[in-house]
Amino acid sequence: MEYRVVGQRKRRYDGMKHVTAETRYVDDIFIPGTLQVKVYRSPVAKGKVVKIDCTSALAMEGVAAVITYKDVPNNGVGFVPDQQILAEEVRYKGQPIAAVAAVDEDTALKAVERIQVEIEEEEAVFDPLEAMKPGAPKVRPEGNLHMFDGRPYRKVVYGDIEAGFREADLIVEGEYFHPCHEHACLETHVSLSVPEANGKLTIYSVAQGLMRNLRLVASALEMPEGDLRFLSNWSERVRNTWKPENPASGINFVGGVIGGGFGGKNDPQLDCVTALLALTTGQPVKWRWTREEETLYSTYRGPWHMKFKDGVKNDGRIVARKVTSIRDSGAYSHLGEYVVDKHCFLCSGPYYIPNVYVEGYLVYTNKVPSDAMRGFGITPSSFATEVQMNKIAHALNMDPWKIRFMNAYRKGDKTPTRVNLDSVSVIECMKAVAESAGVALPDELMAMSSLKGREL
């Protein structure tokens, strides 16, 4: 059967606009009278703002407004609703404390230099392993460990881990570190908020999760969700299926065209700041980050410490895996809980292991908040898993391909989270990889398939 789309080569729906440069990114929107934003960033990693003096900045010619935490209606947003859009309680060096809107970026920068901030500095903690210790300085009042359904870690249990280790002929252990990783989108963060003549506010956003970010902005501005309107030049279909309760008022959120995201554009901070400044001044307000700000202060893939312990049979079967992973979240959670969840749920890799025990920690430190990036927490666990596979092959003096083929998921297997796999093609994928890499696999492996049930 011939499908209209499946199996066909289709051009990108937005490709023609890209090659003619008609694609309009947020920074390509020019509205007369737009004010530009620069922010005062905290020089310390932890502390309490006790005094802010903006009078000298406000007195400057060309400065339209300066806002601080006092101007944010609900200064706590996020998955864990504690991210301060403008800080009163500073949790990381570089956190915005005051935002200036001025006629141009140079004026805004000069105004920022005139802002006087007094901070009562407190002891900070930077290393997640230190932050986990009892008595460590508290990044947040609730403690440094993120709570997963009432537990300080995400727990995954499948089978009987101790019985698995008893059954094993060999134990293979590994300790792994996965560093942090900046998304480095070619387009830096940009936000443009425009007060409209009819009283609405239009926000042009680079947010990746439009509806999620729209709600976070609404929560910071204390606007009821029913007052929100979502416009997207991203997908007609999404636009048409989004039916807000009250489409006649509130915020128009325009998005969907971004110069790279990769998980790095989920922070509602910029949209909140431009929206507040636009409401304060009645003028369009744009905030665009420099490459330096993007690199230093945008979210990034959080670093991981991982300990893997595998119980292996002499024939190559992995019969038990115990994992303890620690992810450094930085100052706030962002999507950290989901990142740790995915790490824990998928840390057996594409391999069937009958006994699995996982503890995944999300630890707060006084650093720039980390967030999702390509694969959430799976990328670090895949790295650790594949190094483990090679270590096991080496320990048993077996072909690394064979170890992978033997343990690969097959139809009918269960994942550690008890997902029944009824459509599996891991071995088929590996055969394709071998072929394109020019590796001739032995007949024994070529006879294996994920499409059939497990042989052993």
Binding site: G15, V19, G260
Partner: protein
Amino acid sequence: MPMLEFKVNGRNCRVEVNGADSLLEVLREKLHITSPKVGCNTGDCGTCSVLIDGKVVRSCLTNAMSANGKEVITVEGLASPGKLHPLQTAFHDNYAAQCGFCTSGMLMAAKALLDKNPKPTREDVKEGISGNLCRCTGYVKIVDAIISAADENSSREES
């Protein structure tokens, strides 16, 4: 303020600039020609690439007045009315644009290369776009597109 007089995409332009303005700022903010993008403003990413008298430059590091009396070409000046430049067609057909943010710079670097070297090897192409970053990591497709545009050009000349 100094007066910059130059030709942009075939049109004569006269614009007042500050002495320190970069060509990128003048193109984007004064003339609203938005194909050159602000990626880094330090000459590292190449997404602001434009042609001055046929030579590819990073417009963020180019003082606007240095284009005085010269001709600047951007992506807006690539297509002739109703007809795309072969590079534009090739980029679209070969999936060479993903998020699209590096595309303008890539197209200008590719045009400069093909104007000088109509039949480049893959190595020549890699060298030609070595000053341009793509973070969606579509370099293979971009090289494919440029090679295919070059083939298209040469087969048209032969026929």
